[in-house]
Symmetry: C2
Subunit: 344 residues, 2 copies
DNA sequence: TACCCCAATGTGACCGGTCACATATGGTGC
DNA sequence: GCACCATATGTGACCGGTCACATTGGGGTA
């Protein structure tokens, strides 16, 4: 309880200095102090120095709240993230945070866990008066939620999809998936299994598409993909199933973690990777180079993606014409988990 | 450029409704609206409903800025994170974010990359008027920066260290390291190498201490630890060196990623894990169960740690007595990367 | 010298909430 | 019937910046 006893010294929290205090100390008007803060041109150098000295003296810190109130700009960029603990999203997030901060913005993160919380999370971001939004929750549900919300806030989504054309920015997932698939095809594989992420994810769909397109270009038959949930555990489970009734020589996994689980299962089943089965992953997490065997995979530059998100959003906020590239191109990293298929 | 052409329709941004607008619509005073917003008791139910209806009607959203200004409370909790892309920190972060949000706070994250930016990052958090701070950058430099700053803001650090006693919360790193070491000792190993994280990190020191204590309890000699940088790559490099001139039967690695690199190096050198060399990791990242072999490691509950951080900080902010446990206890997870040492 | 203009600075209102305090209303005890 | 009090509501100041506009002084030009 916060009841102050009668007679107790009223420790009047020594109210932090405001611009009028600074003005008084510098012997000029509060408006000129404001001009100094904002780097306005028409302030005499001598005046500026006086003000700066006064600010230092009084330990002046401008109040974000007051500025926000009058300018009705919050200086906040909201970021909607799902699965923030994963390598990819959190890498992008770090880059976003850093770039936004350099531009003077504060990053407000809303983690989406279960599907129902998307609207709630968006609502909170809007409630915090975010000036712009970055949507990094690549499920279709999220996209729908955005469309329904009919926000009038600028936003950027990290997706590749036909919808929301104006706002998107993406790694070209289709191209990445084709790269991985082509690598296996070039090695001589024809019976290739694709292990995907969960149904609702944008990447899942894009990578399936890339896989199918490349397979058909080579005249190979693309079997129905197997659905995982991005975790190594799900890769392991699927690997076990494949051992039981699979007819294939290679697997293209939609991320590196599942690839790890797959390899685990194959080894346990007495099969060698890449001698008996080839595996290609996606993402190139830092650990991938040290899997056994080191994983051939597709690298996505998550940090670059994050930086471009902010660049695009800031351009929008400032009303600048945007000259930014909207596609980050993934790249095949060849290591030792894929080889020519066994004879016969 | 934002020059509006003369004669252009001045699209007077239809200023969002404020409490006075709501008051007018509901036929009462603005103060009563404020009371409704804050759930004040003495508002007649019928009045409350009228106000609620008016708020709905006008799509009223209270202005954070205005409230902040007058209450001089920002509703912001600052989090200082280093290496936010790693599994541990980002897991904690997600938990922190979620818990803080539930309590109505906004989480402001400052990523620390290079060492010099610590003060700058702290400064920015303070500049954003954060009410409380969570320090999740477990290097000694950070601790020093905090001490020097002599902040008057409540804060919690995720460290185990003798300093800053009042503010800390931690996983008991010493206990965890002892668990790992004891496991190897019980299997019969005596020549155990400890691979640590970089020098400046709090965890590094604590785990070295745990390692040494347990070794000495068993009368085994603890060699000088080898220093990595948390990455699988550094583990791999150290593994190569160990192969050249090591005299040991087991390795206790200060995290799972380095353990992965070590195993990679050992395998490449023709040694089997765990037959020839045993390896124990630390953290239990989700992938650890699918390493080859599945990694025996020490689990830290990062999410729990994050939640407790917020609980502790909020208690402090509210001036409540804190009844929270300050230690999260780690746990040994036995898998297949450690076995009895080879004969001889 | 009169005039204008621009650079440099000052004045007061305003943003949208909350706070302290004032006021109206109805119920209770004597 | 009156003092008293709790409940319900209203009034105006205030937080700390920025905005639009007013004011001052000095240099250049006719």
């Amino acid at each position: 309880m916060n009841v102050s006893r009668p007679g107790e010294e009223k420790r009047a929290a020594p109210r932090a200095a405001n611009i009028r205090d600074v003005a008084r100390a510098a012997g000029i008007s509060h408006q000129t102090v404001s001009r100094v803060i904002n780097g306005h041109a028409s302030v005499r150098e001598s005046t500026r120095l006086k003000v700066l000295a006064a600010m230092e003296e009084l330990q002046f810190r401008p109040s974000r709240a007051a500025r926000m109130l009058v300018t009705s700009r919050s200086g906040i960029i909201g970021v909607l993230v799902s699965h923030g603990a994963y390598y990819g999203p959190s890498s992008s997030l770090a880059a976003i945070e850093s770039a936004a901060r350099d531009a003077g913005y504060l990053v407000d993160i809303a983690n989406v866990t279960d599907d129902d919380s998307i609207t709630k999370a968006l609502d909170r971001l809007v409630g915090h008066a975010a000036e712009g939004l970055i949507i990094q929750a690549p499920q279709f549900k999220t996209l729908e939620a955005i469309e329904h919300l009919s926000i009038d806030i600028p936003f950027v989504t990290v997706h590749s999809t036909a919808r929301l054309e104006d706002h998107r920015l993406s790694v070209d997932q289709v191209a990445g998936a084709r790269l991985a698939t082509r690598h296996l095809l070039e090695l001589g594989h024809r019976r290739i299994v694709h292990v995907t992420g969960p149904k609702g994810w944008v990447e899942t769909g894009e990578r399936i598409r890339g896989f199918r397109v490349e397979m058909s270009v080579w005249g190979a038959e693309a079997a129905e993909p197997l659905v995982g949930d991005w975790t190594a555990e799900s890769g392991y489970r699927i690997g076990k199933e494949l051992l039981r009734d699979g007819n294939f020589t290679a697997v293209f996994s939609s991320n590196d973690q599942m690839a790890l689980g797959l390899i685990h299962a194959f080894r346990e089943g007495g099969l060698d990777v890449p001698r008996d089965i080839s595996v290609v992953g996606f993402d190139d997490i830092p650990e991938a180079a040290h899997f056994l065997p080191p994983l051939t995979t597709v690298r996505q530059d998550f940090a670059e993606l994050g930086r471009r998100c902010i660049a695009l959003l800031l351009a929008d906020l400032r009303g600048e014409p945007e000259t930014h590239h909207r596609h980050v191109v993934p790249e095949l990293v060849v290591r030792n988990s894929a080889a020519a298929p066994p004879e016969g």
